[in-house]
Amino acid sequence: MRRQLPLALCFIFGVFTAIQYYVPHFRVQWFQERLLQWLMTLLAFAFLLGTVSLIKVHYHKLRDRAPDRGFSLVVFAGLFTMIGLGFIHPDHHAPGSPFNQMFLNVQVPIEATMFSLLAFYVASAAFRAFRARTLEATLLLIAAAIVMLGRVPIGDLISPKIPEATRWILEVPNLTAKRGVMIGVGLGMMATALKIMLGIERAWMGGSD
């Protein structure tokens, strides 16, 4: 029961979702649609697990008087405000709802700004780590420089050959390399999926025995 049953469930449902791909009959597809809903619903249930973990970690910080514990209160404030607003006003996406306002004016700007930090990091990575140490590294940085120029108007101004070279890089070496990776990764994905179904990869249960 402890190990066999979850492995059996894993195998049975795996074989079902694998086989339904070949069975268009509505009776099978009907169950398949339900099953997809089940999977998403399971994830939804798991969010409570995650949230409890987050609360626990920050509660322990407060309890243990860890440095910066004050900020754990900020986490709680944000978390409980959102949960409170979300459950009081279930109309989450209504333009004026407080839940949506919190999302648009707190979460969105912070996240977008975090994301935009990338522009700075790209520049510092280019300066710090882009070294022509080996043939491979040299090719990487030459290709990057050509594509960078070829994708902006200034490349067209310098020479019409640059956009042409950019297109060539994207559609010849890049295309075929990506295709190779895609096939390889595809095989790896299928093999891993198969090994999970067959109970060979069972790390998801914790441990390998």
Binding site: L49, T51, A125, A129, G188, A191, K195, A203, W204, M205
Partner: protein, 416 residues
């Protein structure tokens, strides 16, 4: 002795495989008999007759849609002579169980269209179709009635035979080599530079008295890369448990967190240090991509890990994480199948596992024969694909230069 046990396990494996397949087949049958969703009844009929009617479409043909879930019929016709007319308002398709009367509206198609797929036809009952043209004044002219057609659902999609065959070969290859490995066959695996460093990196963190940070990507467990990351985490956790080094695992997905807690706990138990495991070190941060990054950046600058491992599925956050990691002076080892993020890991990390190498990593670290067997199976398929590429390229070249016809290649590549 060991050989016999291997064979015994192999036999049990095969029995389990057969039994499981039967159970799944039973599930399919159950699902089929249980479900009772019948197609919706068609809507209200429309009025007929109007002045100055447009030319009707001719040659109305019908066929049961092949390889479908049922309730679907393909209707085709030839364009009305007035298709280009300014008064033309589109084709309207009508359906009836009787060839003369009782036609109900099934759907419409625009100017220039010659096909329509009715997806609300009754299953296993003959029906007839007529195609009407509507004009600007609301008038309608009907075509002749089509032949009878019976919509039916199919139990097998024969457009996907090629995929099925390919998957079958793949499954056979993997199962064969896994069994061979169970039987004790020695399997070689080439060096993966990044993974040789894992041991050194753990040692280094121990010396410096600093923690190791393990980021298993931002995807869910439905992503195969995440599974690979979890497997690698198990191996890494065994090493950190041995050295008694702190391992911090912030998670972006609650299910992944639940699984990783199990995996790390198990690893600590296995090397005999269950007490060193701290559940607060494997925790959920948030699902939100850049909120997660904000949190992890904070952990990096405050905990100053000696080693950071990035394994799994990554998105745009990869470089923010890796550059912040570099700025705190950590040794960084990355592995992902996210092609777009690989260049960033390659530039800012010390070692990077590219694409499929990530899947090979858990086999490489654990050296478990079954996992290595799976790799051998994958390589076999890769070899077959390589041969296929050579053959198809030769055929395509011969065909393009007019030496042969390449029609016989088509069935191999039909795609639907």
């Amino acid at each position: 002795m060991g050989h016999d046990r291997g064979r015994l396990r192999g036999a049990r494996f095969v029995t389990g495989f057969v039994a499981g397949t039967l159970a799944a087949a039973a599930l399919v049958v159950c699902a089929a008999t249980l479900s009772a969703q019948e197609p919706i009844e068609p809507a209200v009929p429309e009025s007929l007759a109007a002045p100055e009617l447009l030319a009707v479409p001719t040659g109305v043909q019908v066929e049961d849609t092949p390889n479908d879930r049922g309730a679907s019929v393909n209707v085709t016709w030839e364009l009305s002579a007035d298709d280009e007319s300014l008064r033309f308002e589109g084709y309207r398709v009508y359906r009836s169980a009787h060839p003369e009367t009782g036609f109900v509206f099934a759907g419409r198609a625009g100017r220039g269209a010659t096909t329509y797929r009715d997806s609300e036809a009754p299953n296993n009952e003959p029906v007839y179709y007529r195609v009407a043209v509507g004009d600007a004044e609301g008038g309608e002219a009907f075509s002749a009635t089509s032949d009878a057609v019976t919509a039916s659902p199919q139990w097998f999609n024969d457009d996907r035979v090629n995929v099925l065959i390919a998957v079958f070969i793949f499954v056979v290859a993997i199962v064969y080599f896994v069994n061979a490995a169970r039987g004790g066959k020695e399997l070689f695996i080439r060096r993966l530079a990044g993974l040789d460093e894992v041991d050194n990196a753990v040692g280094r963190a121990t010396e410096m008295g600093k923690p190791i940070l393990y980021i298993s990507g931002l995807s869910t467990i439905s992503d195969v890369a995440t599974i690979a990351a979890i497997n690698i985490l198990g191996e890494v956790a065994k090493r950190t448990a041995e050295y008694n080094t702190r391992l911090i695992v912030p998670c972006a997905d609650p299910i992944v967190m639940a699984v990783e807690q199990e995996v790390v706990k198990e690893a600590y138990a296995k090397v005999g240090r269950p007490d060193s495991y701290n559940e607060d070190d494997v925790f959920y941060l948030t699902r939100s991509q850049f909120a997660y990054v904000a949190g992890v950046n904070g952990i990096m600058v405050r905990q100053r890990p000696a080693t950071i491992l990035y394994m799994g599925m990554f998105f745009a956050e990869s470089l923010v994480l890796a550059e912040t990691g570099a700025s705190v002076g950590a040794i960084q080892i990355a592995g992902t199948d996210a092609v777009t993020q690989l260049p960033f890991f390659i530039t800012s990390c010390d070692y990077t596992l590219i694409g499929e190498e990530l899947y090979a990593a858990s086999a490489y670290l654990s050296r478990e024969p079954v996992l290595l067997g799976g790799l051998k199976g994958q390589d076999t398929l890769k070899f077959i694909i390589g041969v296929l590429i050579v053959i198809t390229v030769i055929v395509a070249t011969l065909a393009a230069t007019g030496a042969i016809s390449n029609d016989f290649m088509t069935p191999l590549f039909i795609t639907h």
